[in-house]
């Protein structure tokens, strides 16, 4: 007869990884490798853009991911104001931070594309200027989050800034139509003549999916880091309260 072995004590994960994120991370790595292969080997130069079209396979996906993350930030911000949810507040923070990274990459990679196509890294064009403004607004959002304040006040302040910043996204997107712009029109929705098609279209779609997955993977990890930080702060506050109680009890016993 075998003696039943007691189950080991439950131990939480020792990192921000889980089975789901590990699988997603592996998919992202394979996806990035395949995207690189398509961008540099399978597809050829564009009839108008030449080889600089290969930069578009990074530029368009990063800005699309940034837009999605910033819209998600606004959604979580509204939910934070409505339900006073810590989960939504931290999710909004994670979305904004990864969104800033993606939009920063968009600006840098776009500047390189501009140097190849227009002969200048930067021009005060409507699309470029509004995108830079959007980037600065989300940097401001992260700065507001860093200001010393009670968690509830910080959540409310940053949610308002997040919602306000998201109002600029349609302006950025439509800037090429509303103002005379050097920047080309919408590539994916077929407003560029000639339309993107064939391998170029497939590569662009593939890169958009892969970068979206990378953004999701990064956001999940960043959210978990923020969650751990929040838990650590609570543990610190609890410990401080216990310490104060112990001091108080000690004084009373001493009397």
């Amino acid at each position: 007869m075998t003696e039943s072995v007691p189950a080991p004590p439950a131990v939480g994960p020792t990192s921000t990884s889980s089975r789901g994120t590990r699988v997603l991370g592996a998919v992202c790595l394979v996806g990035l490798a395949v995207t690189g292969l398509y961008a540099f080997v399978v597809t050829g130069p564009d009839v108008r853009l030449g080889n600089s079209v290969r930069i578009m396979y990074v530029h368009v996906p990063t800005v699309t991911a940034a837009y999605c993350l910033m819209i998600a930030n606004a959604g979580f911000s509204i939910y934070t104001l409505w339900k006073k949810s810590t989960f939504a507040d931290l999710a909004a923070h994670a979305c904004a931070e990864v969104g800033v990274v993606m939009l920063g990459l968009t600006l840098v990679v776009g500047a390189i594309w501009g140097r190849m196509t227009w002969g200048a890294f930067w021009v005060w064009d409507a699309r470029l200027t509004t995108t830079a403004l959007l980037f600065l607004m989300y940097v401001g959002y992260l700065a507001v989050r860093g200001l010393p304040a009670p968690p509830r006040v910080r959540a409310t302040r940053s949610a308002i800034v997040g919602i306000a910043a998201a109002c600029l996204i349609p302006v950025v997107h439509k800037s090429v139509e509303w103002w005379a712009s050097l920047h080309q029109n919408e590539t994916v929705l077929g407003k560029v003549n000639p339309n993107i098609e064939g391998n170029q279209y497939f590569t662009l779609m593939l890169s958009m999916v892969v970068f979206a997955l990378v953004a999701v993977w990064l956001t999940i990890h960043r959210f978990r880091v923020l969650w751990l930080t929040e838990q650590l702060d609570e543990v610190g506050v609890d410990a401080a309260i216990d310490e104060r109680r112990a001091e108080h009890t000690g004084v009373e016993v001493g009397r």
Binding site: G12, S17, L32, R48, N51, S52, I55, V101, V225, V235
Partner: protein
């Protein structure tokens, strides 16, 4: 004109991809390392993921 510029600018194309790869890799590694460090300090019941 554009084709002439792009033919001689492969290094800019590579630079764009390298910057993207390095920034994303650096951010991912920094986030994961920070998560590991914090996980050691937080009680197990507070770090359960789906």
């Amino acid at each position: 004109m554009i084709a002439a510029i792009t033919t001689n600018s492969w290094w800019l194309i590579i630079l764009a991809w390298v910057i993207t790869g390095v920034v994303l890799a650096w951010y991912a590694v920094a986030t994961i390392r920070r998560g590991r460090r914090l996980s050691r300090q937080v009680p197990p019941e507070s770090r359960r993921w789906l």
